[in-house]
């Protein structure tokens, strides 16, 4: 007993005599690494926001363009002698395509999720879910290409018009956001508090009643989160939409008429303008609008998550 006590004493004495033991140094090194990474991240994010804001605000501050003029003006003609910066057609195009895409993808995604969790859990887990997740990995140019060679001809033959337009863009986008909606819905359905389903069945509810009155209402905030994230993705998608929407800067009268979105007009025009020109700055303003919309979407998602927790 005495001996072991002495040994312990000597051990602590050895440790105390070393000012920087190895484990301390390791700890500091790890901390420093994490702090540097987070600093780089914060600086990057802030520079992006700052850069877009400075460029994007220039037309309003020194270019003599009014905010209302940009948000509600219907004519976009920055290279004219009397340049006009009406971005309403693009706002309209962006909102119309992404909301319509969500309207198409949401029911499909929910039904797929319910099928995978409630009807055929085994098939869902082994075949369907990987297949749907695969959709998320396909490059957007492929979607655009498929849209251009399959959806646009189909629409052209079925409906009046050229086939390009908001409808074509929405369909392409709806396929692109389907994995987001489905995956989030599936996760929500799988994480349903245990016993809820049994509780409903035990009261003599049918499967349909259980799904529509218990499962859907309970998971609604998560399902909405999936939709909003899908809309956010659709709102920001440029390439695939640009390939099928026609890119005419005006508000279309029908879903089958050429239109444009915020992203498609930016990618189309950016290469043709010089940095610092009025036209270029106006495109940055559009980018700023996109950025602000993204903030709004993130905010809505946060709000929904808070409601889901309650």
């Amino acid at each position: 007993m005495n001996l072991s006590y002495k040994e312990v004493k000597r051990d602590t004495a050895v440790q105390a005599s070393k000012p920087f033991p190895k484990h301390r140094i390791e700890e500091w090194r790890g901390k420093a690494y994490v702090y540097v990474c987070i600093l780089v991240l914060i600086v990057t994010i802030f520079s992006i926001v700052y850069f877009i804001a400075v460029r994007g605000l220039t037309p309003f501050v020194s270019g003599g363009v009014g905010v209302g003029e940009m948000l509600f003006g219907k004519v976009w003609d920055p290279d004219a002698e009397q340049p006009l910066y009406g971005a309403l057609p693009f706002l309209y195009g962006s909102f119309a395509t992404s909301l319509l895409a969500a309207a198409i993808a949401a029911p499909l995604g929910f039904c797929a999720a319910i099928f995978m969790t409630e009807m055929m859990p085994k098939l869902g887990r082994t075949v369907l879910q990987p297949a749907i997740e695969l959709l998320a990995g396909i490059p957007s140019v492929v979607y655009g290409f498929v849209g251009l060679s399959v959806i646009v001809p189909f629409l052209r033959h079925t409906f009046p018009g050229q086939g390009i337009g908001i409808m074509a863009g929405s369909i392409v986008l709806s396929i692109m956001i389907l994995p987001t909606v489905t995956t989030i819905a599936t996760d929500a359905l799988r994480s349903l508090p245990s016993g809820l389903k049994e509780g409903s069945y035990a009261l003599g509810a049918t499967r349909w009643q259980t799904i529509s009155r218990i499962i859907l209402p309970t998971t609604l905030p998560s399902l909405l989160t999936g939709i909003v994230l899908g809309i956010a993705r659709a709102f920001g998608e440029a390439l695939a939409v640009q390939m099928v929407i026609g890119n005419a800067p005006h508000i279309p009268d029908s879903l089958f008429e050429s239109a444009a979105t915020l992203t498609s007009i930016i990618t189309l025009s950016m290469g043709n303008t010089t940095l610092g020109s009025a036209h270029n700055n106006a495109l940055w303003s559009l980018a700023l609008i996109l950025l602000l919309m993204t903030f709004v979407f993130v905010f809505i998602v946060r709000l929904l998550e808070r409601r889901a927790k309650r």
Binding site: P121, A202, G204, T206, P217
Partner: protein
Amino acid sequence: MSEIALYTKDLSVYYGEKQAVKRVSMAFPSRQVIALIGPSGCGKSTFLRSLNRMNDLIAGARIEGEIWIGNDNICDPQTDVVQLRQKIGMVWQRPNPFHKSIYENIAFGPRYHGVRKRAELDEIVETTLRKTALWDEVKDRLHQSALSLSGGQQQRLCIARSLAVKPSILLMDEPASALDPISTSKIEELIAELKKEYTIIIVTHNMHQAARISDKTGFFLLGDLIEYDDTQKIFTNPSKKSTDDYISGRFG
């Protein structure tokens, strides 16, 4: 002896190849409390769940044998499980209130079964809450979320919820094992009260609880019903040695 509410004949339940319940024949007299005891994994919960065909929901579960309620064999594939589950209510170990208001939790079942009138629903909510001694505690906040209730209150709400569809038999799977002692004693009082109107079959791990509240006790071991007799007899003078070993705590 009183009439029989429910009886099983050679009831076996399989999960895939594994036989979880082995040819159990048991009769449950009306308006009595019957406790099912036994070590974990002995098949008593599986047996309980098969009585209202909740095992249908488990992939790979298969029932053989007969379960008779009156003149109906509910193992018959023709049986309408929706009607069956209306007759046989069920309460679980963990309270599982729906994420709705207290009122809606109770009105949920009756709505399924066609009760639409507000006044009628109001009455069902009040009577079932009174029966479960919850009325005085929640009458001022019927439209608040059921999740704001304590665990014991939630469990009594779940009991009230199953009473709302007017069953004659209640199945309870360890209804008090997730609750504190005070809530437990409230549930036990409630069971004693409900016995006047309902047949109650309860699975419990708590020997004292089984001895306190039940009229008859069945002892399960490895899927077999070892002994089934009056609770008094089981706990004072069991006829099988393994029953004696289990209730005196020598294994299990």
